[in-house]
């Protein structure tokens, strides 16, 4: 199994800072913006971004977690069903600008399911997508991210492994893994 480092702690820091600046450029005071992290792994990225954003704009920004398991299109088509996680959105998204956050954008199917799951909470004014890693050339649906940490050329057979301190790892590291 070959492992290639895509992002290390220092680079990840710089990348997250850049993403925050881009968000501030487009959302200004964040008065009408909410951040929603995708379960199970996007929530860690969302927490890091959210913490940094609150420090930069010096105000509270609503943060929620969204689980799209029940809206997936591969239910009953997988050998082992995906396990559901907690959804926690304790604010209204009606008329708000939503920034959806996930760790890796791969086929785009999770994001499709997420948008379905999200609109059961209301009709947002605008939805944007932020991902840490954008895997190019692997999309199965017309989904694109508005904010990208790093775009990587990958094959469908490869896997992107995100290790974050928040998940209990020693250092923030993102790997590209060849399954052979």
């Amino acid at each position: 199994m070959q492992k290639k480092l895509i992002l290390d702690t220092d680079l990840l820091d710089i990348t997250i800072s850049r993403l925050c600046q881009q968000l501030i450029e487009n959302h200004g005071s964040f008065s009408e913006t909410v951040v929603i992290g995708m379960q199970p792994r996007g929530i860690y990225v969302a927490e890091i971004i959210h913490q940094k954003l609150e420090k930069l704009v010096k105000k509270n920004i609503p943060l929620g977690y969204l689980d799209a398991t029940f809206h997936r299109d591969d239910f009953r088509r997988r050998e082992i069903p995906v396990k559901a996680n907690e959804t926690r959105i304790e604010f209204t998204i009606e008329g708000k600008q939503v920034v959806l956050v996930d760790d890796v954008l791969f086929t785009g199917r999770t994001i499709r399911a997420a948008m379905d799951a999200m609109i059961t909470f209301g009709r947002p004014k605008k939805v944007e997508l932020l991902v840490l890693i954008d895997r190019k050339y692997t999309r199965e649906l017309p989904v694109a991210a508005d904010y990208v940490g790093k775009a990587v050329n990958t094959l469908s057979s490869q896997r992107v492994l995100v290790e974050l301190e928040a998940q209990g790892h020693k250092q923030n590291k993102i790997w590209l893994i060849n399954k052979d």
């Binding site: 029940f70 809206h71 082992i80 995906v82 396990k83 907690e86 959804t87 059961t120 909470f121 209301g122």
Partner: protein, 308 residues
Amino acid sequence: MSKLSQKHLLGIKNITREDLELIFETAENFKGVLNRPVKKVPSLRDITIANVFFENSTRTRLSFELAQKRLSADVINFSASNSSVKKGETLLDTVNNILAMKVDMIVMRHASPGAPHFLAKHINANIVNAGDGTHEHPTQALLDAFSIREKLGSLAGKKVAIIGDILHSRVALSNIFALQKLGAKVMVCGPPTLLPKFISQLGVEVELDVRKALLWCDVANVLRIQLERQQIKYFPSLREYSLYYGINKKLLDSLKKPILIMHPGPINRGVELSSDAADSAHSIILDQVENGVAIRMAVLYLLAGANA
């Protein structure tokens, strides 16, 4: 694991503790769904479910139907009273005719113990037992255990007394299996004529005095006196039953301790439970009903997933 060990939910006796935990975790997430503005998910949109009820039911049937609709399944309802069963059609023929219309899942209530087990051997569809005679009522036990878990955190080491007509109760048997698998201690309490003879072999304590049972337990699950199943007299009169085994607010207050009161419904108010006890702060009866939909969603969802 995110998959059940079983293809059917026939009873609590043959499912594992891991299955129970998985159902509870999934039900928690569905409870979240039920509190959203849009209380519906598309998971079972390609599934058709038949609710086949050979015995009367309000709560269970409505709860199943609502759970199915919240999961976007197609639902057909069948009740024996206005069907060809009256013309002498057998159970297997009836169900096979329903399945010929491309139905994926059967939710069945039947007066004969073991009817869903019989069906499971002969047909190729997921079966959910919604009560078979005096045998099991698994989804009721699941929602009871889920409701206790929600209020007390965990079942391990908790004491639960099941009070009333144990002899005719499928709820009692399923509850005993579920609670024991989750590590709770179980006591049954009722008049000797309404306690099965060898019940203590299931590892439950037996108590004849309702006050002692209430003093012992953290949770009292009060069962209905099943007037329709009492062909012979098991006790002299309802008035006498209510005098010796009825639970009222005065009795609960005299215990001077926190206690949860549950009832699977329908309540015979003034018989096993007085109105002031059923509507008191101890009572979690309406929480049970609310949780029933989430639990049934979880069961149907997981069984459909196990099929893939």
